[in-house]
């Protein structure tokens, strides 16, 4: 299983519809400070079901919707679609390709879709349960976490193994 494509629209600083084609192996993302690199990583966490605004560096979930700039008005919707290859049936569904979509409206209404069919948040979480791809897995690592893993008390490090067990 691997991620093939991600489409962002109105998510954080990605006001324009943006398409990121992905391949197996290593994809490097570069650019000046504040240009939107970590926002891409936030988009992946969000579409996979992240419920904590703080984990996405915001105060409230609405902070993920494009908030405007000097030349643009704020948008009313954030949408991220993530397409995955499932030819080896890692995910327990009968499709060789799966697209997960998440939308959030300024009104607070949120939508999830699996291959364009509306579903619940719970369905997304269950889909990725135990695959190692998901919001509670260790699939994002930054310097803050390195301090946390190494400086925390031994009892706090158990979560790393329980995840893998």
């Amino acid at each position: 299983m691997y991620f093939k494509k991600m489409e962002l629209f109105g998510f954080k600083s990605f006001a324009e519809k943006t398409e990121l084609m992905l391949e197996p192996g290593v994809t490097a993302i570069v650019g000046p400070n504040g240009c939107g690199k970590t926002n891409i990583s936030d988009a992946i966490r969000w579409v996979l079901g992240e419920q904590s605004a703080k984990q996405l560096r915001g105060g409230k979930m609405e902070d993920v919707i494009f908030n405007g700039s000097r030349t643009r008005q704020p948008m009313g919707l954030a949408e991220v679609c993530l397409t995955m290859d499932n030819s080896q049936n890692v995910l327990p569904v009968d499709y060789s390709e799966i697209t997960v979509t998440r939308r959030l409206f300024r009104s607070g209404e949120s939508e999830y879709l699996l291959n364009k069919v509306p579903c619940r948040h719970k369905d997304i979480i269950e889909l990725f349960m135990d695959t190692g791809v998901g919001t509670d897995a260790y699939s994002t690592l930054e310097n803050k976490q390195i301090e946390m893993i190494l400086n925390s008390k031994p009892e706090d490090r158990r979560f790393l193994f329980e995840e893998a067990a």
Binding site: V30, T71, Y138
Partner: protein, 156 residues
């Protein structure tokens, strides 16, 4: 379950020791359970010995040594349960050139089972990637993606 935790732990423990030696080109590292009799509550602690140094607690390690040790832990877990996907956000920043090279070599090996997105400012790390994207903000406040290089993993 208890047995499962124990067997996973033993595998990660072994992987961690060997990956640490690879990343540091020597030295020793050991992971152990603080309370092995109670598998449901026990903590996990780590003693490390960078090459030529005395065994120390991980809090005395330097910034770069800590980053490399944490990478060894992450990859030790991936060997037991590969995650299909992982984002690394500037974790190569604290590394000096020789550690950076060893890290990038290991990353390439693990990228056969795990798909990585690596956010970096390091030119050496950019060179080893299969695909390279640049993000710009030509229009203030609005991110735009520019694809810089596409070398298919197969051809490499």
């Amino acid at each position: 379950s208890r047995e499962y935790f124990e067997s996973t732990f033993k595998q990660v423990q072994q992987n961690f020791s060997s990956l640490f030696k690879q990343l540091f080109e020597g030295g020793e590292a050991e992971m152990f359970l603080t309370n092995p009799d109670d598998l449901l509550e026990t903590g996990v602690d780590i003693n490390v010995q960078p090459p030529g140094k005395k065994l120390t607690n991980i809090t005395l390690l330097s910034g770069g040594e800590k980053a490399l040790t944490a990478i060894a832990i992450l990859f030790a877990i991936f060997m037991v349960k590969p995650s299909p996907f992982c984002v690394l956000d500037e974790i190569d920043a604290p590394l000096d050139d020789s550690n950076l090279n060893r890290f990038n070599r290991m990353l390439l090996e693990f990228s056969e089972k795990t798909q990585f997105i690596m956010i970096t400012h390091n030119k050496k790390s950019m060179e080893m990637a299969n695909v390279l994207y640049g993000v710009t903000m030509e229009e203030f406040g609005v991110s735009k993606l520019v694809s810089v290089k596409f070398r298919s993993a197969v051809a490499a």
